[in-house]
Amino acid sequence: MTVTISEFFKESANWAFLAIAVPTLFAGWRTVTSNNIVRAVLYLVVSLGGTAGLFFMLGAEFVGWTVVLVYIGAVIILFLIGIMITRAPLGQEADLSHAMNVKAPAALLSTVVFGVITWAMIDAFGNNMIPPFEPTATSDLSLLLFDRFVIPFEVVSFVLLAALIGGIAIARQDEEVVS
């Protein structure tokens, strides 16, 4: 069954989808075009926040909250700290992007990527309806996490440990160590 435009707008949930999707997309767009690095980060926050909202709409509450806590709460802060440490100017900055001549190929590449993926996705998922809204129980997720996915769960802790220890060693300021 296809959804016509008029039917689409009768449903309040569809309005909700659009209300979240449009800012998400716009913020994503501004993240890669803004000339102000701090604004680019803040647009990224909006884009990530929008996806978190979509996760709630899809019933993936735990994933949504993880995005809010891990991405918006921690990763973005890290980005801001990175900006402060590298003393990037806080105002307009002309040289965040390459010169104009890469923009056209980039836009073309991006459009092709979008076109091909969208075509294949509509081909595959065209009119599949999303099942009714029902939140996934976090306990189901954790059961899966500690049963089928226990190997990656253990391994990911080593990813984090290696990143932490190695990151400290690389970023530490020490004039006397290493020529």
């Binding site: 595959a124 089928r148 253990e154 080593f158 990813v159 190695g166 290493v178």
Partner: protein, 503 residues
């Protein structure tokens, strides 16, 4: 949930304990070498654990009937996993050996260095057993993440910083492409486990999206194994990284990428060989040709080895792409690729060990500074010759058997895909000979640069651990070259499990 087969997990458990032990030993001892010793003891123990898995009661290799399948098929210990885990641990062990001498030449962080090497070995070992996308990608990220950091280990050197940053951006981009492909494949098949994807993929109707997913996954792995045209970052990263790290990247990290590529193509995507076969065929031909042609022009030995490793990756992919493009029996070429990978790893590690010693002694990796190596270090020159001849594929060194297996598997495919790439490979084997011999000519027949003091150079000693590494790899190169059956056994053992899949 079933009881966990801890014996099957023992090598990984030992490696995980070693990772933590290395860190703790470094924290509580003042002698930096203790961390290296801990790392080596742990890797050796893990290797022994792998041997206990590899041999049945009667001291023969277990057949595929003895496979241990854990966690709903997402973690499998079979011949393939065992051979490659053994290889990664061996590579990690050799890299630690050659790092001990190198790190002492300057004030590096040592404990953290060994910690990251063992972490990377753990990741690579888990990858070899992983049979689902999530386990594999998480494990791959230990290998990549520690690789990014290790590439920048010469903190005071802008080239090392730069190598690290380039490697990082490319690596994370590859991760994003790979994951996007995985998400599409998951959406169509409803599973992450390779065997279930293979089973479900034959009935997938929306083949366009499935193919697109497969292409994204191949793109991601293309970057990880640095195959042409995704190779542009490799020489820069190899040159900028500390040389022992380059040795690890060109063997362990690249090997892990190959494991991913092999597992995904053979186990998850056998239904779309008509997509990845020709792609890999083309990538193999390009990698060999471009890698070799650019290598000829190189004046820096490390960059030369970087391009040589790109070309060698092309040789590894050749039989694999030819068989898949033809739709022929895949198990023969699988065995050939694994055999090639094992031999390549051993000889490339050996070559790096020698190159590091000479480079540190001379103070440069530029080839012109290396001329006359034979006059002041005949032993080093001889080992250099052995490893480079082996890389070129000259008998009786192991490299010839790798090339032989590759050619016979490629021609054995019996189609124009196979014949044509065999011709490309033969031409490339000749081109490769040019630059390997160029290095040896310089080392044996040219005169020492006037400003180098021969007496000082002669007085230099090879650190004990590094000479052990050179001895071990040289012995392996000779033994595998004279008794090639050993390497072939490993290859066959690793492809046994394919028979059970009907490939």
């Amino acid at each position: 949930m079933d009881a966990i087969d801890y014996h099957a997990l023992l090598p990984e458990i030992i490696l995980a304990v070693t990772v933590l032990a290395t860190l703790l030993v470094d924290l509580f001892t003042s002698r930096k070498s203790f961390a290296a010793i801990t790392a080596m003891i742990g890797m050796f123990a893990s290797f022994v654990a792998i041997l206990t898995l590899a041999f049945c009661d009667n001291l023969t290799f277990c057949t595929s009937t003895g496979d241990r399948v854990l966690f709903g098929g997402s973690f499998v210990v079979d011949g393939y996993a065992i051979v490659l885990q053994g290889l990664f641990i061996f590579a990690g062990f050799i890299v630690v050996l050659m790092s001990v001498g190198y790190l002492e030449t300057d004030r590096y962080y040592e404990g953290e260095f060994y910690f990251l090497i063992v972490s990377a070995v753990l990741g690579a070992a888990v990858m070899a057993s992983s049979r689902d996308f999530i386990s594999m990608i998480v494990a791959l990220e230990i290998v990549s993440g520690s690789g990014f950091l290790l590439a920048g280990w010469r903190k005071g050197d802008a080239r090392s910083n730069e190598a690290s940053l380039k490697f990082f951006i490319i690596g994370v981009l590859a991760l994003a492409l790979l994951l996007f492909g995985v998400s599409l494949i998951y959406g169509l098949t409803g599973t992450q486990v390779f065997s279930e994807i293979a089973a479900a993929s034959s009935s997938v109707e929306d083949i366009a999206l499935f193919n697109l997913g497969a292409i994204f996954v191949l793109l991601g792995f293309g970057f990880k194994v640095s195959a042409v045209p995704f190779h542009f970052w490799t020489p820069d990263v190899y040159e900028g990284s500390p040389p022992p790290v380059t040795a690890w990247l060109s063997v362990g990290s690249k090997g892990a990428g190959f494991v991913g590529l092999l597992s995904v193509c053979y186990l998850a995507l056998p239904s779309v060989t008509e997509i990845w076969g020709p792609v890999l065929w083309l990538v193999a031909a390009l990698s060999m040709t471009i890698g070799n042609i650019v290598a000829i022009k190189q004046t820096n030995v490390i960059r030369l080895l970087g391009y040589s490793s790109i070309a060698q990756a092309g040789f590894m992919l050749a039989p694999f792409g030819a068989a898949a493009a033809t739709g022929a029996d895949l198990s023969q070429t699988f065995s050939a690729t694994v055999t090639y990978l094992v031999i390549y790893a051993v000889m490339n590690l050996g070559a790096f060990a020698v190159v590091i010693i000479v480079g540190t002694r001379v103070g440069s990796y530029e080839l012109e500074r290396w001329s006359g190596l034979n006059t002041w270090a005949p032993g080093l020159a001889l080992s250099l010759a052995a490893f480079f001849m082996s890389l070129a594929g000259i008998p009786p060194l192991a490299g010839w058997f790798a090339k032989f297996v590759m050619f016979s598997a490629t021609i054995g495919v019996g189609s124009w895909w196979g014949y044509s790439i065999a011709i490309v490979a033969a031409l490339n084997a000749v081109i490769a000979l040019v630059y390997y011999l160029k290095v040896l000519k310089s080392a044996f027949f040219d005169t020492v640069p006037a400003d180098l003091d021969v007496a000082t150079l002669e007085a230099g000693t090879v650190p004990g651990p590094t000479s052990f590494a050179i001895g071990l790899t040289a012995a392996a190169v000779l033994v595998l070259g004279i008794f090639p059956g050993l390497a072939a056994n490993l290859g066959d053992f690793s492809s046994d499990f394919l028979a059970t899949l009907g490939l």
